[in-house]
């Protein structure tokens, strides 16, 4: 209460200052600088026994958020969460056995109010292999509930806690080995609303970052197993929002309209990596950093600790596609930490005159990967044709090779050699060209009579079939004549040449 009236006075004093004709005082005279009043933490968080009938909490799957509780008094809230171990896609053509709360990664979003008494039921599905428990960072008590919720498959546990502190908190499984349970997707968010509720906004979304460790490489097809050594080495294969490379892209993009006020509840399950969370094209008007009570204003990129969270508010003025990224930027483009917020509505040239950000940033992400998926299927069935390879290669070429060599293969005169009708290409075998793509090329070269002396970085993060498809596309485009390149040829070259220091496998 006190905090409200203080901020109200402060706001009024600013308004008075602004409306005045005379030059404004740098400091409002009406009210002294408000003393920062703290919420009192857990000591002041107990609002007494629950009132009224017990309420069954509304839980939502990501990216949705339950509606505001709207409560004014503490209540008894019953939360029932089920643990299910299930195989889900982690990337196009790649699946992983996730261990989930509520069937999704991240798990269901729980929303209660400070002072609520939460009766928590954890059910472990009978098909589960493992026992599981839950540690909610919003619980005051041993293990955050983990000590009281250890549940064997086919069993259910119950414990009760009072939410003494407001904030946005992570919850996760804490069964040994804890890192493995978290790495398999066992985390989510619980929002403990401040007593007066969160300020209303038009749209709220639930995003949670996580790092994943698989035995196979990034985007290697098929069911992938967890790789404990990579997890210990903190060498992530995937860094993803909401458990899948396509969770927030394409048809799954989150949507809003010009004029909307939007709030993102953003968590980071880890297990290892800290997130540098950024929304390309927008500035966060408010960031409740670390999911706490105070907010910072006008923030571009904010840190979300592993096992932590934050809340960001912003308003949309211009339509287009806005890209959620971890600004440790290789994670966005090479490990999948990328999502889309699609905003519709009228243009506002005063604010932004240019085109949509799509192609420059997204490259092969927004474009249809259907051709790549089809090629993967045909490869597995043994029916892959050069046409399919070329189509897939085209989708992969865009955004990776096209950045330097251009969409039409023309390159940049004097800087990047052309690929169209290139004598360099026709003079070389498949093996030599594969080696260039895998290991890069530096030093002077002559292509079509012109000298070039630039650096082509190694592209060994591309998989064998991706390189085969891209080279097939290059060989069959822009008037080039050349044979299709097979995955087996790439595998052989990769095995027989060494990679530079720091390059991917």
């Amino acid at each position: 209460m006190k905090r409200h009236s203080v901020s109200l006075l402060f706001a009024i004093s600013l308004l008075l200052g602004a409306c005045s004709e005379r030059a404004r005082d740098p400091e409002p005279a009406a009210v002294a600088t408000p003393t920062v009043v703290d919420t009192g933490g857990s000591a002041k968080g107990d609002f007494g026994p629950p009132q009224g009938e017990p309420i069954n909490a509304v839980l939502t799957s990501p990216p949705n958020v339950p509606p505001a509780t709207g409560r004014k008094a503490p209540a008894k809230v019953i939360v029932t969460l089920e643990v299910i171990e299930k195989e889900l896609p982690i990337a196009e053509g790649t699946t992983y056995t996730f261990w989930t709360f509520g069937g999704t990664v991240p798990g269901s979003f729980i929303r209660v109010r400070q002072g609520d008494t939460v009766e928590f039921h954890l059910n472990n599905h009978p098909d589960s292999k493992m026992p599981h428990n839950i540690d909610l960072h919003g619980v005051t008590g041993p293990g955050g509930g983990a000590a009281s919720s250890f549940t064997a498959p086919g069993h259910s546990s119950q414990f009760t806690f009072k939410a003494l502190n407001q904030g946005l908190f992570v919850y996760h499984c804490a069964t040994a080995p804890v890192g493995m349970h978290v790495a398999n997707g066992m985390y989510g968010l619980i929002l403990v609303e401040p007593p007066e509720g969160m300020p209303p906004v038009d749209k709220e979304f639930y995003v949670m970052q996580g790092d994943f460790y698989t035995v196979g490489k990034f985007r290697e097809k098929g069911l992938q197993a967890f790789d404990m050594q990579k997890a210990i080495d903190e060498n992530a294969t995937y860094v993803l929002f909401n458990g899948s490379e396509n969770a927030l892209t394409g048809d799954n993009a989150i949507k809003a309209s010009v004029g909307d006020s939007v709030r993102l509840y953003v968590g980071n399950g880890g297990p290892n990596l800290v997130s540098s969370f950024h929304l390309i094209g927008e500035i966060f008007d408010k960031v409740w950093y670390e999911g706490g009570t105070r907010y910072q204003e006008n923030v571009q990129t904010t840190l979300v600790p592993a096992g932590g969270a934050m809340i960001a508010d912003f308003r949309l003025e211009v339509p287009g596609s806005y890209v959620l990224v971890d600004h440790s930027i290789f994670r966005a483009f090479n490990k999948g930490a990328l999502g889309i917020l699609k905003v519709d509505g009228p243009e506002n040239k005063d604010i932004y005159s240019g085109k949509e950000v799509d192609s420059a940033y997204l490259g092969d992400k927004a474009g249809s990967m259907a051709a790549v998926a089809e090629a993967a299927q045909s490869k597995a069935a043994g029916t892959l044709t050069p046409e399919q390879q070329s189509k897939a290669g085209q989708a992969l070429y865009a955004g990776t090779c096209s950045v330097c060599h251009q969409d039409n293969g023309a390159g940049l005169a004097g800087v990047f050699p052309p690929l169209a009708k290139s004598d360099y290409l026709t003079a070389r075998s498949n093996q030599e060209l594969i080696a260039v793509v895998l290991n890069g090329l530096t030093g002077p070269v002559k292509v079509n009579g012109q000298d070039y002396n630039s650096v082509m970085p190694p592209m060994s993060q591309l998989t064998d079939d991706e390189i085969a498809n891209i080279l097939t596309y290059v060989h069959t485009s822009w008037g080039n004549t050349g044979a299709a390149v097979s995955k087996e040829e790439v595998t052989a070259v990769r095995a027989s040449t060494t990679r530079a220091e720091g390059a991917a496998h």
Partner: protein, 263 residues
Amino acid sequence: MRTPLIAMLAMAPALGFAAEGAWVTLPGEPEFATVLAYEDSQSRVAIAPFELMTRPVTNADFLGFVTRHPDWRRGSAAPVFVSGEYLAHWSGPLSLGAAALPEQPATQISWFAASAYCEALGARLPTWSEWEYAAAADATRADARQDPAWRETILAWYSKPSGEALALAGSGAADVHGIRDLHGLVWEWVDDYAAMLVSADNRDQGDADLLKFCGAGALSTNDRENYAVLMRIAMLSALEAVDSTRNLGFRCARGLSRAKDPS
């Protein structure tokens, strides 16, 4: 007229015994390095030679047992000894049905029922140490635990979703002792599952809540990288004797151990 009937009835148990799987003798080890870090044991346990079944007990084996022992049939067994899920996947108390193939490992069996089965054979459940010692083996070595490849193979089982049907008992590759399916098929009961004095929150390793476990802290582990064993410990410590799960079976052991045979 009645004599053959009596003769058949008298032979029935013998016929039933013949259906059990084979046994192998394991040599044991005087100072086996266990992953369990109890204060008293210096992480070494003495394992005397003992016999172990080469594969888990199957549905067919267990059907024979309940045929001979009506007290252990589903519906007749006392609820203090079995839970509501006991043999729930069988089509009837004395029939297996499509969801319980005869050669699949028997699951949904409580510790009491598993103990009774083994006792009926003059055997017992293996102890945790015996299980850990046997499970350290791979195809060529008695102790393969330092080999990352061994660990990866075991971890891969946990990556497989659990909805698939169980493989047949004994279908896994034999290890150096000739034993199959200690990994990769089902969890298995041990006699002293209750000796896993694990805190429900495994992050409390070494936090000595002395009164709770009378003189000991909760269990700590030495080899944090041996996830196969860690997860087995987590699983056993989550269970009570009356529980059963779809992924938990058992096999029997015979011979001297630190827990003595039935007297």
